[in-house]
Symmetry: C2
Subunit: 288 residues, 2 copies
């Protein structure tokens, strides 16, 4: 581990491995960024697969590692699991902390183009370049077995990362993703700020738009998306039905499961998280 | 469920069952009390075992249900798991919220005798009478299969409940319990407030003292206690070694496992929680 770049903020043994939190100075987003990373005991001896988990609105790097029970699964499956923060922090841009669904804790995993935001709000490049490289370089990752997944805004982040970076990830899955960000109220507000009025820019960060033009490697098994039936955001912000139609039109394989009675929270995520581990494991086994 | 006594504050589906939070007006401690209860799907059809989990200092009913991953295990084993709060709240007694280790969030599961505290700080009676009865009455509990466990101050609470109520619980276990409360700094401060200077009262709520005179039913397998080796409270507040000696002297069966590298937090608890489920299940199978 390169101690010049990473500062250990937290360390706790869990299921024979360790749950860490590190911080580093990010050149991409221009501030100090924290992330969580679970390292299973297995990674002491050999390279292991990596899952990158992107969190939803209001989250820091803490929510997922505290509430999802991921450590048990990461240990069982022998995966490193890394989870970044959801936005730059402390940049003191006017308007970055007035709304819970925009700005700090709500970076939407995009690279903003409007000058007010474009220096710091570059979460797409942060996740898919700086953070990705940092994890691969500093931990014992098998670079041919890397998957990405996320929840809500982070499910959107995982899907757009997969579609915009063909071949970078061997697998993708999502929990209750924002499927059509450029047409949801949250997304419209965020994208108007980040990109201005040019909606062609908005559509470059929208899973339902991107799947139409995706021509990278197809997954072995249909991409796994879980969506709770009792999720109050389902029909007004997430729009899973539109993504189903777009995938069908594009002949892109998707298994979107509606889970009866589940809501939008971490009890929903923890319930189906093992299915996602199995999905990614299966994709890794079929990856070249 | 008697809706006149319980108010549902939270409900979320998890692993086919439900994680609830309820509140009720407690006659024992004289204020509104919240608790968590996970009800597995199995309890819709039949009576199931109950585990009562007591939390540690600084906790509300939220910490355990948010951080431990218990829902996965409660569903798998088919147990109801109920977890009360750690103290009365909102009673506005001078000095009840100045220290993190005394008063609100820090009731030590005792019945205070000093007049300032004795009206509200009756957590021993609350847990072992009012709360116990409330859970058994309102949920589909098999009253012959009830176990108690806890963490830190709550591990102390579980052990003293088992010792002071012979036969009420079929099983007990603990994570990093305060083993000798009347001789630890936290306990001395709390017990001086709750009981005054009479140390014979202190010893009535101290696992290491109580095991000496316990003559109730013996557990089938040695009582399971897990203790992290890297727990910074181990040698100055918890005193597991004293409990080991006291159990040996009393010929009370104890398996105290020192877990190398683990600390005092929830990552430690979540790692070994399934072993505790297995322990209680085994005791239930041998119970009359």
């Amino acid at each position: 581990m390169s101690s010049s770049t990473l500062t250990r903020e937290q360390s706790a043994k869990a299921f024979d491995g360790h749950q860490y939190v590190y911080s580093h100075e990010s050149s991409t987003v221009g501030c100090k960024m924290k992330f969580g990373v679970y390292v299973p005991e297995k990674a002491e001896k050999e390279q292991v697969p990596l899952l990158i988990f992107l969190s939803g609105l209001t989250c820091t790097e803490q929510n997922f590692i505290t509430k999802s029970g991921v450590q048990s699964l990461a240990s069982k499956y022998g995966f490193i699991v890394a989870n970044p923060d959801t936005s730059p922090r402390g940049c003191k841009i006017e308007g970055d902390s007035e709304k819970w669904n925009f700005g700090e804790s709500a970076g939407y995993y995009v690279d903003a183009t409007e000058s007010k935001w474009s220096k710091n709000y570059r979460m797409f490049s942060y996740i898919n370049e700086e953070f990705y490289d940092l994890i691969v370089k500093n931990f014992n990752v098998n670079p041919k077995k890397i998957g990405i997944l996320g929840h809500s805004m982070g499910g959107h982040g995982a899907l757009i990362s997969f579609f915009k970076r063909p071949g970078q990830y061997q697998s993708v899955s999502a929990f209750a993703p924002i499927c059509n960000a450029s047409a949801s109220e949250w997304g419209i507000n965020a994208y108007t700020n980040f990109f201005g009025q040019d909606e062609t820019l908005w559509k470059q960060y929208d899973a339902t738009e991107l799947v139409a033009s995706y021509n990278g490697p197809k997954p072995h098994a249909p991409v796994l998306v879980d969506q709770g039936s009792d999720d109050s955001f389902k029909d007004n912000q997430l729009f899973p039905e539109r993504f189903i139609v777009a995938c069908k039109t594009a002949s892109f394989p998707l298994e979107l499961r509606e889970q009866a009675g589940y809501d939008h929270g971490y009890y929903f995520i923890m319930t189906f998280l093992e299915d996602h581990f199995k999905y990614h494991k299966n994709e890794f086994e079929h990856a070249q």
